[in-house]
């Protein structure tokens, strides 16, 4: 028998921080709040992920990248990655670092609050101006909207807020 050097969940999380959303490559799946649970059994690793939007074509790529990243750990045994629907992913799972990384990509992070009528507001991802208009609530990917900043005259995107109260 080899002397077993068990894989710790901390080591797995370190690796998962290197797995990025393929369509927003400045943000890790950990900071997007997609990692629900990491468990280890000896050198076997199981990662449970939460899908953001159900029809998102990046999900399978994220699953594969997660699997490959964890397999890179030295002495790792069986690796399993699965998506579950409970708890539901909501945009308030994105970390503060995730918010900063989204801005770096030119995407305003999802607002934490909704107005009473269900509408929401974000500031410009580039200049921070509040003087913006919603161009299209639907954007280039399922999770993003398109806005225009009247101050710096840039088109920018925002991550849609999603919440169980909707």
């Amino acid at each position: 028998m080899e002397t077993s050097i068990n894989i710790s969940t901390e080591r797995v999380f370190e690796v998962l921080k290197q797995v990025k959303d393929p369509e927003i490559d400045s943000v890790s799946i950990v900071d997007l709040g997609m990692v629900d649970e990491v468990s280890t059994d000896g050198n076997n690793v199981k990662v449970v992920l939460l899908p953001t939007f159900l029809g998102c074509p990046a999900l399978e790529i994220i699953k594969r990248n997660t699997l490959n990243a964890v397999k890179e750990l030295s002495k790792v045994g069986e690796v399993e990655v699965e998506f579950v629907f409970h708890p539901p992913w909501t945009s308030d799972r994105i970390t503060e670092k995730g918010h900063a990384d989204l801005r770096e990509f030119g995407i305003s992070p999802p607002p934490r609050h909704f107005e009473e009528d269900g509408s929401w507001h974000v500031d410009c991802a580039y200049c921070g101006s509040t003087y913006v208009t919603m161009e299209n609530i639907f954007g280039p990917t399922a999770c993003r909207s398109i806005l225009y900043c009247k101050s710096c005259k840039n088109v920018f995107e925002a991550m849609k807020p999603v919440s169980t109260i909707m």
Binding site: G55, F85, H86, I137, F138, T164
Partner: protein, 269 residues
């Protein structure tokens, strides 16, 4: 978690499977007809929006087929692509063509019809999904909670279109009213569970047909009152998609949708 098949009675499983096919087939067809607007929508923002909605809806169908796969009903891709129209359980409304002509040739589609169909369908879906959040089958309730969050944006989108076109010119209102007549002709089986009514309702998978229909009417009333209109009556179905009765439009849709799959079922996307 234990395998659901082990603890499920045959009755319950039949009810669940029947309902899941209705939900999955509805979203598959709705998403397919929506995707036929790609490149044809009235303006570029709408092209992005409606294709995004279609993509989400296809994702919802995929989740329901996934639940069916987990219940041993077959492979999810196969269930979506390979079943003949007589085995499909979608409502008649979702299978209808977008208008005259053919997508790849001369599509003469009707945007008013697209708006009314999408708005009425999305509102019906919202009512069902809210009920499914309390379903006796937990995996279905969990999926429903996810769907509901995405549906929020779909409903908002179609309601905006509906109100704006209804409050626009006489021509717009006439086209919308005509579209509404057309949509309602096919709306009879929207809340029907077909011959599985008793089975589905008694197993508390979703609320009864009558409750869903009533909730749909009530949810539309504020918008219709604002437009000085009344919510149209839902007719008795002439054909019931929930029992596998369909129009030739469904065959056309399945031929197009499954063309690649039939040529190469193991193609990787």
């Amino acid at each position: 978690m234990s395998n659901p098949e082990n603890v499920m009675s045959a009755d319950y499983k039949e009810a669940l499977t029947s309902l899941l096919f209705q939900l999955a087939d509805d979203d598959l067809m709705y998403a397919f007809r929506g995707s036929e607007w790609l490149g044809l929508a009235p303006h570029i923002e709408e092209d992005v929006a409606s294709s995004s909605i279609s993509q989400d809806s296809m994702g919802h169908a995929a989740m329901y087929y996934q639940l069916l796969e987990e219940l041993g009903a077959g492979n999810a891709d196969d269930l979506a692509h390979s079943r003949p129209s007589s085995e499909r359980r979608n409502s008649i409304l979702t299978e209808r063509v977008n208008g005259e002509g053919v997508y790849m040739e001369t599509p003469l589609y009707d945007w008013a019809y697209a708006v009314v169909r999408s708005y009425f369908y999305t509102q019906a879906k919202k009512v069902k999904v809210e009920s499914l959040c309390k379903s006796s089958y937990t995996p279905l309730a969990e999926v429903a909670i996810k769907v509901k969050m995405e549906l929020y944006y779909h409903r908002l989108h179609w309601e905006t279109w509906f109100k704006q076109l209804m409050g626009s010119t006489d021509v717009a209102r006439k086209k919308m009213t005509d579209a509404m007549t057309l949509v309602m002709t096919d709306f009879g089986d929207m809340f029907s569970f077909g011959t599985k009514k008793q089975l589905i309702e008694s197993n508390r998978l979703i609320e009864p047909e009558e409750v869903l229909l009533q909730n749909w009417k009530m949810s539309l009333e504020p918008v219709f009152t604002g437009l000085q209109m009344t919510v149209p009556a839902v007719p008795v179905p002439k054909k019931n998609g929930r029992n596998g009765e369909h129009t030739k439009d469904l065959d056309q849709a399945l031929r197009t949708l499954s063309e690649v799959y039939m040529v190469d079922p193991i193609a990787v996307w």
